[in-house]
Amino acid sequence: MDPHLLKELNVERRARRAAILVTDLEDGCDRLVRERDVVDGALGSALERAFQSGKSATIEADGRSCFLNVHLPPARLVVIGAVHISQALAPMAALSGFDMTVIDPRTAFATPERFDSVALIAQWPDDALKQVPLDAYTAVAALTHDPKIDDDPLHAALKANCFYVGALGSRKTHAKRVDRLLARGLTLEEINRISAPIGLDIGAASPAEIAVAIMAEIITSLRNRSVTSS
């Protein structure tokens, strides 16, 4: 492998951008493919599948045996609101392999005692998100019900093309939220990416059950995301 290619790959990985290193197993020649690169033929469709699944594999394409080493950024979950549901969500996110951060400016909620195992930032979302920049491999769940706290990060999540954006609240609450976001200049198409009411419809009632519904919805979005849309 060319050391320059290794450096290029590591640049992509440090920047949390997806990349695949394609190695020809006959001669050891490598090439780096980024998510937005267009590759034709059998290799192109194999690459597209690999970006989606995240699974590295040896493939046969155009008469060559190639190894696709897939480097996807680790998925992150940013939760707005240090609420009861977030407490239940924390261990579920960890088990599912998500790096979770909780943001809530209300210091009565955002206490280390309530959240001992996750990153907790007791600041307003706009300030906190400077430490956890949003990107296409980040899910955002806004759980405070409070427009003062939820609206800014929802806006930021849609603009950053987060693979999942969910907001807690009834249909009525959400209708008002849609009006506010429209007034901020977001399009209806952008706003419609928000999952609301939040979570898969499993009839969840308790905070823990709602957390399960949210986690399942996030996983669905991650595994079924369209790689070309970003």
Partner: protein, 109 residues
């Protein structure tokens, strides 16, 4: 997390080693059959003195990969290595293993 990737990630380590002027080989699991200890894409990086970082198995075949890698650093030709995971070893660590892996070893540069 950001610090972990810099210190623990084999490809980040390889980049650092290259910058230090060391010769580096990279071993990658490219195929697995049955229950293999590490998934495809797992990597081990090796320098000429036999220092290594990362893993391609649970420690069963690293020794063999490291000695092959030192040869590959000399002649520069990539090589494909195949390993069956010994059942005996598997039983000792309580795994019903017995898988097989293919490891591609190449020189960096």
């Amino acid at each position: 997390m950001e610090n972990d990737i810099e210190t623990l990630d084999p490809l980040m380590v390889a980049e650092r080693w290259i910058d230090e002027g060391r010769d580096v080989a990279i071993a990658t699991v490219v195929d697995t059959w049955g229950s293999a200890p590490r998934p495809t894409g797992s990597q081990l990086v090796i320098d000429r003195d036999g220092n290594f970082h990362g893993s391609v198995s649970g420690g069963c075949v690293e020794g063999a990969v490291v000695s092959e890698a030192v040869d590959i650093l000399s002649d520069g030709k990539p090589r494909m290595l195949e390993f069956g995971v010994a059942d005996e070893t598997a039983w000792q660590v309580g795994l019903s293993c017995g898988g097989k892996i293919r490891v591609f070893v190449e020189r960096l540069g």
